[in-house]
């Protein structure tokens, strides 16, 4: 366990640090009649004045007014009041106000307790006597708690003004730049030897028709020139310790393999070839390679993934050269971590829509690469074969249904929509239509989801421009088969078309493009290291889609881009910028401030049973640690305030009542209940 600064201090700041006399000021607000029209506020004040420790009991037309607050400040300064209880409107409205008041007068802000007399008494009762008695009881309970209030401090952890961004695709680049632009340092790590991720494999992008790599390189150049950003390619996160504000991360970097000055020469001399992942395995490349012309960093790298023993020999200028992978580790301290590990296109099973069996069936990412490599001309030629009929099939690997589709290895089907494929398909179809006017284009879909800004235009254009749409029902997906009559076309798509009576149709095709969905990159190692959680769809889980949409349940670890779910480039960048804003919120002050409502252990009572550790749902929030007490080596529970959520589950679990929740102690509740059941002080209440 790392040393938690402040945690020890917080643990020491326990009950009654000094035996001072408790002097309570009790204030019953009229709320301009809202309370006093029902509750006899003067009688409440009179009754409260009779309670032990209450040295001042007052009323005011409006306690929250400047005049009302001034009374409290004066009582603290002039009359030695050191605990304040105000009965007024709901605490959600003015508890913070009065904490500020007592703090201004020099008290610890947690020496304040707020009682809701309006929403929970005068506004819900008409019987004035009963409501007054209830007000006395509620205030008495508040006073009982006030007797046991302790000074608390916000938990402050110093924060490294430095973030780690995992993933050098568009989301990671965007996040890194936006964090840096706020004056924070960034360490950006990318698993492959080159930046850019999947965006580098695209050509024209919707909805702007910009060139993907031109847009991407604009951002890469900013990152490369940014003195706040340290980039490690061929690198992965291999260790992490600590907590928000102070994560110690270990990065393991594979060697680039060849010295920069001879790298080009070595690449030329290299003869060993492997499938080119940039072209989704459709072509071969050397193991000393550049991802694509113009890639960044521009220096060739050795693809050690395809060289299991980490050793490569090649002949250069007649000399034998030995290259070796010598991974090194780098330790960095960061305050927050951005996960931008991205996606991988769905890989259809062998035989799924003929994939892997019929050479005329390719995925859309593959087709984009094939098209980029195709000869220019009036006719679409793929793999040296002219294409007259092309068919697109939507929702391959998306919107899957149990018992209709085969599950993934984890037993789950991909029952989610991949969001980008509809627009991507129609964008591509329109592009084909422009370039190859005679091409027959068939689009086999379930629903067309061109939801985004400018996306519908692609659908309208395709509909008006001889793209033939056929619609299937999700329960009856289309089939791809070899054509019985090879003269017409080598393959065909068979489906029940619900745009024409549910008629069985056979669509002839020379090429079939599967609009495959998006799956998260497999990041099991990261999930284990960072203790973040994936959802049933395997994408990483946010705390709440609206309250905290880019944060994980682990403080200081945020999500950017398609690691969280299918997104377009635009949506990935928006999410990445939002993640950067969250990181700036956390780190730009140089300290992380947490509520003081956390568990604390009374070492005199703790017997080291470990029940608290067992029941705690938060990683490293409470642990058993060895320590020496009274000359004996014992195990005792230790709370890490940085990781404690303050739920109090450990309080009930402890068999020795050695744990309590700061600010909400069991003893405080017991005393409040005693006050509720007690006889109220004798006062004459008119009716």
């Amino acid at each position: 366990m790392p040393e938690k600064h402040d945690s020890k201090a917080a643990a020491k700041a326990k009950s009654s640090p000094k035996e001072e006399e408790v002097r309570i000021g009790a204030y019953t607000c009229y709320c301009g009649g809202n309370i006093s029209d029902v509750v006899y506020c003067e009688k409440v004040a009179e009754a409260l004045a009779k309670l032990p420790n209450v040295v001042v009991s007052r009323t005011d037309m409006s306690m929250c007014s400047d005049a009302g607050q001034a009374k409290i400040e004066e009582d603290i300064r002039e009359h030695g009041v050191n605990r304040v209880v105000v009965g007024a409107c709901a605490p959600s409205l003015h508890e913070q106000t009065f904490r500020g008041t007592v703090q201004r007068a020099g008290l610890n802000p947690f020496f304040y307790h707020h009682v809701g007399l309006r929403e929970q008494d005068s506004w819900v009762h008409h019987d004035r006597v009963a409501a007054t008695k209830k007000a006395i009881r509620l205030m008495s309970a508040g006073i009982a708690k006030a007797r046991l209030l302790e000074p608390l401090e916000h938990i402050r952890l110093s924060a490294e003004k430095h973030a780690l961004v995992i993933g050098g695709g568009i989301a990671g680049l965007r996040a890194a730049r936006d964090i840096s632009r706020r004056g924070l340092k960034v360490t950006l790590i990318e698993r492959s030897p080159f930046l850019g991720g999947h965006m580098a494999q695209l050509e024209s992008i919707f909805p702007t028709e910009e060139d993907a790599r031109t847009v991407l390189h604009g951002l890469i150049e900013e990152v490369a020139a940014d003195p706040n950003i340290t980039l490690y390619t061929s690198s992965e996160l291999t260790g992490v310790r600590g907590y928000v504000g102070d994560y110690q991360v270990q990065i393991t970097q594979q060697s680039r393999g060849v010295d920069e000055d001879v790298a080009e020469e070595a690449m030329a001399a290299c003869t060993l070839e492997v499938p080119d992942d940039y072209n989704y395995g459709l072509t071969q490349r050397k193991v000393i390679y550049k991802a694509y012309p113009g890639c960044y960093p521009p220096t060739p790298a050795v693809d050690w993934k395809n060289i299991p023993d980490g050793k490569l020999e090649l002949k250069m200028n007649g000399k034998k050269i030995k290259l070796e992978n010598k991974p090194k580790t780098i330790d960095v301290k960061v305050g927050a971590i951005v996960i931008a590990t991205g996606f991988t296109p769905y890989e259809p099973r062998k035989g799924e829509y003929g994939y892997g069996e019929l050479p005329e069936v390719v995925t859309m990412p593959q087709f984009i690469r094939l098209l980029a490599m195709a000869p220019k001309g009036e006719e679409l030629v793929i793999n040296e074969k002219p294409v007259r009929n092309i068919g697109f099939i939507h929702c391959v690997g998306s919107r899957q249904i149990d018992d209709v589709h085969e599950p993934q290895p984890d037993g789950e089907v991909n029952n989610y929509c991949s969001r980008v494929c509809c627009t991507a398909t129609l964008h591509l179809a329109n592009d084909l239509r422009h370039r190859f006017p005679d091409l027959n284009i068939f689009d086999v879909y379930e629903d067309i989801r061109t939801y985004g800004r400018g996306h519908e235009d692609y659908y309208i254009e395709a509909s008006e421009n001889r793209v033939v749409f056929l619609r299937f029902h999700g329960e009856e997906p289309p089939e791809v088969v070899a054509s019985p009559d090879d003269d017409v076309s080598p393959v065909q798509i068979k489906l029940k078309d619900y745009l024409t009576w549910g008629e069985e149709v056979e669509v002839p095709a020379d090429l079939i493009v599967l609009a495959v969905g998006i799956m998260p990159n497999p990041v099991d190692d990261l999930i284990n290291l960072l203790k973040v959680s994936p959802g049933t769809d395997r994408f990483l889980l946010e705390v709440h889609p609206k309250l905290r949409p880019v944060e994980t349940a682990v403080p200081g670890i945020v999500l950017a881009g398609t690691a969280q779910g299918p997104m377009t480039i635009q949506e990935s960048c928006a999410a990445a910028s939002a993640a950067a804003a969250k990181v700036s919120v956390l780190l730009s002050q140089g300290l992380v401030e947490l509520e003081p409502y956390v568990a604390r252990v009374d070492l005199d009572l703790c017997k080291g049973s470990g029940e608290c550790v067992e029941v705690c749902a938060y990683e490293d929030a409470i642990t058993l640690e060895s320590m020496t007490i009274g000359g004996k080596e014992v195990k005792r529970a230790v709370v890490s305030p940085a990781n404690c959520a303050g739920c109090g589950a450990c309080v009930s679990a402890c068999p020795n009542r050695a744990i309590d929740l700061q600010g909400w102690t069991l003893g405080q509740y017991q005393s409040m209940i005693e006050a509720i059941v007690a006889e109220i002080p004798a006062v004459e209440i008119e009716s």
Binding site: G100, Q103, K161, Y416, E456, W501, Q564, A574
Partner: protein, 450 residues
């Protein structure tokens, strides 16, 4: 008299969910923020909703904490019931917005929202918050969870009887209030001005707003809300519980005749959500959704659609040509059923809900000097990598001011807009590095306890 001048780092225009989130994300970084809202309360469209997809969280439970966080954040100054007149750039590169704060005729400092005035006021007016199904008084607190919780007078409908003034325990009613001019100086501006729903009378084929039992989806939100006008789902014409309810999708979107060719993104999901909620409230009701394409594209959304199907909500692919009504004011839907050979049929329902779309509510060019796109929303020229950057340096856009989007996407975009604005302030603030409250390296700002 020179207008009161407020100097901040960022001006956020609009107090809906996107504006609140952008303001919070800027304020929590230490920047001074002015949040200006046209309405008397922040909360925007979101606070009117019942429950929200895909989690079916109670909407109030998500929105009110954000509203309260905005109100209590010491770095945010909130200006409600304000109109921005103009925005100019000064010599130092900062913007200055001329703002008119409309008179509430209630002193906001002393009002305790006790509602005595409401009880005394003799005037009932249709309440826009309840889509005019409920009423408010001429003096009223905007709604139960309004922020600020302060009354105001609808002076156009007030008869100046003075009853409110007499009954007010703190004497906060002030008929002499005048509009106040404010000048807000800011380094960056975030536009979070939101959207409007398709006007009810937009489509004559769908009754043009004249058929009582043809309602828009926002009305159904109010019918479903626990704080709603009836506390129950009832149809407006006769207060009867509807047994058969139909949703017409794309009623205002993907419709060339309305000049709205785009998809509004939210309607499929809210129709499905409302169907599920109505199924809970009226277990025996039949619910049909007439659609062109079901677009449940977000995280967890398609699963939500499958759940609704399993619950028995009928999804019918069909193009609704016309809605009329019979003598009992039951709506009659004329629809081409695509899955059944495109035959055209007429079907009677007890209530029809128009899944209305999102349209731009004003022309942002006149005040903010930013370009708009063909859809009428703020243009984002670098939309792929910088989706919140507008054509005017220093002005950023958040949420549905940049085109239709749902709450989840709005909140994410709001964070992105805050990141852009923060970076801009950092680069161009008065000190050249970081605006009025920049945090220099190593300096640890003591955070207020509030």
């Amino acid at each position: 008299m020179a207008p009161r001048t407020i100097k901040v780092d960022a001006l956020v225009v609009g107090g809906g969910i996107a504006g609140m989130q952008s303001a919070l994300d800027l304020a929590d970084q230490g920047y001074q923020v002015a949040l200006v809202e046209k309405q008397p309360s922040i909360g925007g469209k979101m606070i009117e909703l019942s429950k929200v997809f895909p989690t079916l969280d109670c909407c109030s439970c998500i929105t009110t904490p954000k509203m309260s966080a905005v109100a209590h954040n010491s770095n945010i100054q909130l200006f409600t019931y304000c109109d921005i007149q103009s925005v100019d750039k000064q010599g130092d590169g900062r913007f200055v917005a001329q703002v008119i704060q409309k008179p509430r005729y209630v002193d906001i400092e002393t009002c305790t929202a006790c509602r005595q005035c409401e009880y005394a006021c003799p005037i009932d007016l249709p309440h826009p918050f309840d889509q005019n199904l409920g009423v408010h008084r001429a003096i009223y607190v905007p709604f139960s969870t309004a922020v600020p919780q302060k009354a105001l007078i609808d002076i156009d409908n007030c008869i100046l009887c003075g009853k409110c003034e007499r009954v007010c325990p703190v004497g906060c009613v002030d008929f002499t209030q005048q509009p106040e001019e404010l000048a807000i100086e800011a380094t960056a501006i975030v536009l979070a001005t939101g959207f409007e729903i398709t006007p009810t009378d937009a489509k004559a084929e769908y009754g043009g707003g004249k058929l009582l039992n043809v309602v828009n989806a926002l009305t159904v939100e109010r019918l479903l809300a626990p704080t709603g006008p009836y506390g129950h789902v009832l149809r407006p014409s006769d207060g009867k519980e509807p047994d058969s309810i139909a949703y017409i999708q794309c009623a205002g979107s993907r419709d060339k005749s309305l000049g709205v060719e785009y998809c509004s993104r939210i309607c499929c999901m809210y129709a499905i959500k409302q169907s599920m909620l109505i199924s809970g409230a009226l277990p025996l009701a039949d619910i049909a959704i007439y659609y062109m394409d079901i677009r449940t594209f977000g995280k967890g959304y398609d699963q939500f659609y499958q759940t609704a199907k399993a619950m028995g909500v009928q999804f019918i692919k069909g193009k609704v040509a016309k809605i009329t009504e019979d003598e009992n004011q039951n709506p009659i839907v004329r629809v081409e059923l695509i899955d059944e050979g495109s035959q055209v049929v007429e079907r009677q329902h007890d209530m029809v809900v128009l899944s209305v779309g999102m349209v731009s509510k004003y022309d942002p060019r006149t005040i903010y000097d930013v370009n708009v796109a063909g859809d009428g929303f703020v243009d984002t020229p670098l939309t792929n990598v910088s989706p919140c950057v507008t054509s005017r340096p220093g002005v950023f856009v958040s949420g549905s001011a940049a085109g239709p989007m749902d709450i989840v996407d709005s909140i994410v975009m709001a964070g992105a807009a805050a990141a852009e604005a923060a970076a801009y302030i950092q680069a161009t603030g008065p000190n050249g590095h970081g605006g009025g409250r920049s945090i220099a390296a190593g300096e640890e700002k003591e955070l207020a306890h509030a």
